[in-house]
């Protein structure tokens, strides 16, 4: 087998040194009653070529964006990924390295992640960003736990317009604790309704998402003022589409204490939902309650600039059960991809790309509205929006699959009150022509 270098001769020589008669004898420290009796029932090994064939066949039936026009967003976005990013990520020194515990021979990873932290801070208007969380959902759960650590309170509030799957993960993380999660309702405009906030008592944190799950852009500035009416409450801004902040006022500019979300949009393939990138940033004053790894700048013994893992005293391997989180492996390579992508986009590029996403989505929204399929919500949206379709659209939707169009996400499983509504997403990968074709098909 090409991954296993040992020849029979090597094995014999090494066994002799190891003082074992044969390979089985190496396991003499395992009591007999702990030894496996049967062989593992696994298939015959495939050759590289058989594996290629097998995987190509499995992948061939997928409704991926290479074969379909997919109008799905909802936390996973089809953006173009430059070939530069793909090829750079295949460099062995980057993708076969471990966590940079030995900084002298890990400056590549370390400088890259330091750059990542910086660009994330600039994008979100925050002061300190960590080296990544697993995904947007677990990042939000960790952010809410962090508000509890920072405020020493026990109750958080989360908008119903936050991604429903993110809220499920929050629920899971909170289930075994004695902390409480309260849901904030959504108004008729598609935005979080804060009117009842003051009745909820002492809150550790309040989380909303912008653009929210319906694609609506929350008025973060107003929200921040409302939430900070209680100065001890932390304002958490979540997101699933960071590209929006190429155009929108940043969470930091609107007073957020923590900004967290999914970074898959930034140069990372959708890959059926993962690996993505949990982005996580906060104000400097909260840094010691933050979860996750941090890279800091320092100097070596000759005075040369270098980068190291730092503030590890927050982390599980040092602080053990008192750690700010148990996270250890994170999404490092995805953070690297995002850094490459943000570097390629630049400030000018992200502005234009962000605009283009919104403008294409607005074009479709208007065209659908003209065709009688309006949005139930009036708030401005970014690159996705909710549409109420006439009765029977479920059949049309199904029929469109045959034409290789996935015409949005039905909201029934997530919001029963919006059972006749679909969430439509438009990115730069769908051209005006594609949009016109969709309008024609759905209004046929």
């Amino acid at each position: 087998m090409r991954y296993l270098p040992h020849t029979q001769e090597d094995i014999q020589q090494m066994l002799q040194v190891a003082g074992a008669a044969d390979l089985e004898a190496l396991f003499s420290s395992i009591p007999d009653d702990c030894r496996r009796k049967d062989e593992m029932n696994l298939p015959d090994p495939l050759t590289e070529w058989e594996l290629n064939g097998h995987m190509d066949r499995l992948a061939a039936g997928m409704g991926a964006s290479s074969a379909y026009k997919v109008f799905l967003g909802a936390g996973s976005y089809n953006h173009y990924i430059p070939e530069t990013t793909r090829q750079l990520l295949l460099r062995g020194e980057i993708f076969t390295a471990y966590t940079p515990y030995q900084p002298e021979i890990s400056q590549g990873t370390l400088q890259t992640i330091y750059e990542y932290q910086t660009l994330v801070c600039r994008l979100l208007g925050m002061e300190v960003a960590n080296a990544s969380m697993y995904d947007g959902a677990s990042g939000l759960a960790e952010a809410l736990l962090m508000t509890i650590r920072a405020s020493r309170r026990k109750r958080v509030a989360v908008s119903r317009a936050v991604h429903p799957l993110y809220r499920k993960v929050v629920e899971t993380y909170f289930a075994p604790t004695d902390f409480e999660v309260i849901e904030l309702p959504v108004g008729a405009d598609g935005l979080t309704d804060f009117s009842g906030l003051s009745d909820l008592g002492e809150l550790a944190g309040v989380a909303l998402q912008s653009p929210n799950f319906f694609g609506c852009i929350e008025d973060l500035e107003a929200a921040g003022q409302t939430i900070h009416a209680d100065p001890k409450t932390l304002f958490v801004v979540a997101f699933s589409e960071p590209l929006a902040y190429g155009l929108l006022k940043s969470p930091g500019a609107c007073g957020a204490d923590i900004a967290c979300g999914e970074g898959q949009s930034l140069g990372i393939p959708q890959s059926f939902g993962g690996p993505g990138l949990g982005m996580f940033a906060a104000r400097q004053k909260y840094v010691r309650t933050m979860p996750g790894r941090l890279i800091g700048k320092t100097t070596d013994k000759d005075g040369k600039t270098g980068f190291v893992l730092t503030l590890a005293t927050r982390e599980q391997h040092i602080r053990r059960e008192k750690a700010t989180s148990n996270i250890c492996s994170n999404q490092g390579l995805c953070a690297t991809a995002a850094t490459m992508y943000m570097a390629a986009l630049g400030g000018t590029g992200i502005r234009e790309l962000s605009n283009l996403n919104r403008d294409r989505a607005e074009y479709l929204k208007a065209a659908l509205a003209d065709a009688g399929c309006a949005s139930p919500f009036s708030a401005p949206t970014f690159n996705e929006f909710v549409v109420r379709f006439p009765d029977g659209f479920a059949d049309t939707w199904q029929a469109l699959l045959e034409k290789k169009i996935v015409a949005g996400l039905n909201l029934a499983p997530y919001y029963p009150e919006l059972a006749d509504c679909w969430l439509m997403c438009v990115t730069e990968t769908l051209s005006k022509e594609d949009l016109d074709a969709l309008v024609k098909e759905v209004t046929r």
């Binding site: 087998m1 496996r36 499995l58 290479s66 980057i94 190429g246 690996p275 148990n326 390629a344 000018t348």
Partner: protein, 473 residues
């Protein structure tokens, strides 16, 4: 050579990306929502390529040489796995595609669950956790849910001092108080110690087996019996599964819940920090507690099942790190039953190193090891040479250092895990380097204090970094 930080480069108006053609009008937006846009540097495509090419050259990966980082299983990451994960049908798949358009991904996940069940002997598997500690968290959530469902929530979890470092934090996240269990003089758990601590307030025990000394917990069956007798559960940290594939049936020896690190045992790359994947395997009895959705098979079709009332819920927005699952699945299909050889060779390599170096470095537990062996700096201390110096000097020989100062139960630990990927020639070079360093400790300790000499930077001031954190530029 130095490479400036990204924002020290570039010039406004440059671009490194190809922007799609604008084919629609600009849509108006309420000015109060509009920001200035992030202050990113504008670079050209060649700028971007050179920047990251240069940075990468300062990194050491498995592709650069032997990376014997104990407990991290830095084995070869097969290139074909990258090809598979990049197939457009997988890489371009949305996680909420209808089931009819997801059959390939679901088949892969179902089969992978089955393979992992077969390898561990624990038949019910979730692939959702995104990393090892995420798997631990999931396991602890299952502990909590299990006891809650029995109507008797419990408050403590036993954790041996030879367990992985993440375990206490994972337990604590679920509200459990970790209780330390001391290992015996041979480096393994003694049943009587566990019996003394185990009670009906204790949810169970988290055991790393082989443990972080590289030793098999030979009393595991007895320990499991004690814990089970008090109504507790046994959690296995499967990070060291690379030692025992085909050798031990983990379910059979009394483990109820086990997480695997696909980025260790199953060859997926660690990516300078992740992403990994930490599937959790459980007994049939515990299957109802696994996260949703579950991938199930109906006839010849696969679907996602959300209807699991006892489930702990969701730990990831979608299906976990699917791209990593693709790589691990490819690895398992490439090796099949030869996975047993993987474990045999991994253990052979560790024992070969242990026996070759034991005259030169202090070996605190001189017994057959599994996939890794632990030395200390005890013999070198008289020359004022410490584990850290030995580690840094290895860099000058072209090797990544082992894990150091872990496990905590051994003072000045040097924890070496070669993995099965390393050939005898490479091991011999590594052994030779460590012997030379032992010699150098006697003859030129200052050479070791001044190491490393050859990498881009020398020893870095980590204290200053933490005292005055500079976390962004």
């Amino acid at each position: 050579f130095n490479e400036p930080l990204l924002w020290e480069k570039g010039s406004p108006g440059r671009t490194g990306i190809s922007l799609p053609r604008r084919d629609v009008e600009k849509a108006p937006l309420d000015e109060k929502l509009v920001g200035d846009g992030p202050d990113f540097p504008d670079l050209s495509e060649p700028d971007v390529i050179r920047h990251f090419t240069k940075l990468s050259q300062w990194n050491f990966g498995v592709d650069s040489g032997m990376y014997p980082l104990g407990s991290c299983t830095m084995k070869y990451n097969p290139k074909t796995n990258e090809r598979q994960a990049a197939i457009p049908g997988f890489a371009g798949a949305h996680p909420l595609l209808p089931e009819s358009l997801s059959q390939g991904a679901l088949t892969l996940m179902f089969d992978l669950q089955h393979f992992l069940g077969e390898i561990t002997g624990l038949p019910a598997v979730t692939l959702q956790p995104a990393a090892g500690s995420h798997g631990e968290l999931t396991g602890m959530l299952i502990f909590a849910a299990y006891h809650k469902n029995k109507g008797k929530p419990r408050s403590k979890v036993l954790i041996p001092d030879t367990a992985h470092g993440t375990n206490p934090a994972s337990a604590a996240l679920c509200g459990f108080k970790p209780v330390a269990v001391q290992s015996g003089p041979d480096g393994v758990l003694l049943p009587e110690t566990v019996a003394d601590l185990m009670d009906e307030e204790t949810a169970g025990i988290m055991i790393t087996n082989p443990n972080t000394l590289g030793l098999f917990e030979s009393n595991i069956r007895q320990v499991a019996d004690i814990v089970h007798a008090k109504g507790g559960l046994v959690y296995g940290d499967g990070a060291n599964m690379n030692a025992i594939m085909g050798i031990v049936d983990v379910g059979d020896i009394g483990v109820d819940v086990l997480h695997l690190n696909l980025h260790k045992t199953f060859s997926t790359p660690h990516g300078g920090g992740g992403p990994g994947a930490g599937p959790v395997c459980v007994t049939e009895e515990l299957e109802p507690f696994l996260p949703v959705p579950r991938v199930v098979k109906d006839g010849d079709r696969y679907r996602l099942d959300e209807d699991c009332p006892l489930s702990v819920g969701k730990v990831h927005a979608f299906h976990g790190n699917f791209g990593i699952l693709v790589r691990a699945y490819s690895y398992i299909l490439s090796l099949g039953r030869q996975l047993k050889q993987v474990s045999q060779y991994a253990v052979l390599n560790a024992n070969y190193i242990k026996e070759s170096l034991k005259g030169h470095y202090h070996l605190p537990y001189d017994r057959p090891c599994m996939h890794e062996c632990v030395f200390t700096d005890k013999h070198q201390q008289e020359y004022h040479v410490a584990t850290l110096d030995i580690a840094k000097r290895l860099m000058d020989h072209g090797f990544h250092p082992p894990t150091i100062y872990f496990p905590l139960v051994v003072s000045g630990a040097i924890m070496i895990e070669p993995t099965e990927s390393e050939s005898k020639e490479t091991l011999d070079l590594f052994i030779e380097a460590l012997k030379q360093i032992a010699e150098e400790a006697r003859t030129c300790p200052e050479c070791l204090h001044e190491s490393p000499q050859f990498p881009k930077v020398r020893r870095l001031d980590e204290t200053a970094a933490a005292r005055h954190p500079c976390l962004q530029g």
